[in-house]
C-alpha cells in the first residue's frame, strides 16, 4: 500500500532491471554454470518482491493481476511437461533430449574438460530451465504478492 521513501524508490528503479537481468543470466546459463531455473527464478522473484516492498502490493496488483500470474505459472509447467512429451515423440524416450547433437538450437555437442563455456549446448536443458524459471518466478512472486496483500488488509476472507 504505502510506498517507501523517495531514495529507496529511486534505487529500486535502478536495481530492479539489474537484478532481473542477473536472474535471467542465471536461468540462461543453467546448463553451464551453477544455477538454473529455480535459482534464477528465485532471483527474479526477489526482484519482483523488491517492487512489492517499495511500492506496496496495491500498486503492483494494479499492474499485474494475480490471475495472470497463475496462468503464467500453468503455462510454465505445461511447457515443461510438453518438452518431456516432445522427447517421447521425437526420440522415443520420455524426457529424451531430442535436440542434443542435432546442430539446431542448443544442439552442439559439448567439449569435455576445462573449456570456455559454449552456450549453444545442452539440447532441451536450457529450454526446460526457462520453463521452470517461468513457473518459479510467477509462483514465488504470487506467493509474496498475495501474502503482502493479505497481511495489510484487514477485511479479507476466504
Amino acid at each position: 500500500m504505502s510506498s517507501m521513501s523517495k531514495i529507496v524508490r529511486t534505487m529500486t528503479n535502478i536495481l530492479f532491471p539489474l537484478t532481473m537481468i542477473f536472474g535471467l543470466y542465471v536461468i540462461a546459463h543453467g546448463h553451464l554454470t551453477p544455477g538454473g531455473g529455480f535459482q534464477g527464478g528465485a532471483i527474479v522473484a526477489s526482484a519482483c518482491a523488491l517492487l512489492v516492498v517499495t511500492y506496496g502490493s496495491r500498486w503492483v496488483l494494479g499492474r499485474i493481476k494475480e490471475k495472470r500470474l497463475s496462468t503464467f505459472e500453468s503455462i510454465g509447467a505445461v511447457s515443461f511437461i510438453t518438452l518431456a512429451f516432445l522427447g517421447l515423440v521425437f526420440s522415443m524416450v520420455f524426457f529424451g533430449n531430442f535436440l542434443a547433437g542435432s546442430n539446431l538450437l542448443f544442439g552442439t555437442t559439448p567439449v569435455t574438460g576445462s573449456t570456455l563455456a559454449d552456450f549453444n549446448t545442452g539440447g532441451v536443458l536450457p529450454l526446460m530451465n526457462f520453463a521452470v524459471g517461468i513457473k518459479v518466478v510467477t509462483g514465488l512472486f504470487a506467493i509474496v504478492l498475495i501474502m503482502a496483500y493479505a497481511s495489510s488488509t484487514k477485511e479479507w476472507n476466504s
Binding site: M1, S2, M11, G62, I64, L116
Partner: protein
C-alpha cells in the same frame, strides 16, 4: 614485490575497517550511531578487500589469464552492488528506526521529531504513473 605489499596493505586496511565496524556496533549507544559504524566502515573495508581481488585480477589479465580477469570483473560488479545497496539500506533502517520511535541518544537537536509527519510518496507517484502501463 611492490605489488604483493600493495595487496597486503589493501587487505590490512579492509580488515581493519571491518573489525572496526564490529567494534563500533558493540560500542556505540544507539541505532543511528551503530548505523554509522555498520555502514561506512563495512563499505570502505569491502572496497579495499574487493579492490585487492581486482588488483590480482588485473595482474592476471596482464599475464593473459582469462579466468582471473573475469573473476576481477565479477568482483567489481559485486562491489558496485554493495555500493548501491548499502547506503540505501542504512537509510531505510534509520528511517524505520525513527518511525518506530527510537530516539537518538544524547541528541542535542531533533528536527525530524519536531516537523509535521511526512507524507509517503504514494499520491505524487500515482500522478506520474498512469494506469495504462501494466499490460504492455
Amino acid at each position: 614485490m611492490i605489488f604483493d605489499y600493495l595487496i597486503y596493505v589493501f587487505l590490512g586496511i579492509g580488515l581493519f575497517f571491518n573489525v572496526l565496524a564490529g567494534v563500533g556496533l558493540l560500542r556505540f549507544p544507539d541505532v543511528y550511531t551503530r548505523l554509522h559504524a555498520g555502514t561506512k566502515c563495512t563499505t570502505f573495508g569491502s572496497i579495499f578487500l574487493i579492490g585487492s581481488v581486482i588488483l590480482i585480477g588485473l595482474k592476471l589479465w596482464w599475464e593473459k589469464d582469462t579466468n582471473g580477469s573475469v573473476l576481477a570483473l565479477h568482483s567489481a560488479l559485486a562491489l558496485v552492488a554493495i555500493l548501491l545497496t548499502n547506503p540505501v539500506g542504512a537509510h531505510a533502517i534509520a528511517r524505520a528506526a525513527h518511525r518506530s520511535g527510537v530516539k537518538p541518544v544524547r541528541a542535542i537537536a531533533d528536527h525530524l521529531a519536531e516537523s509535521p509527519p511526512l507524507q509517503t510518496g504514494e499520491k505524487t507517484d500515482k500522478k506520474q504513473q498512469p494506469q495504462e502501463e501494466g499490460g504492455k
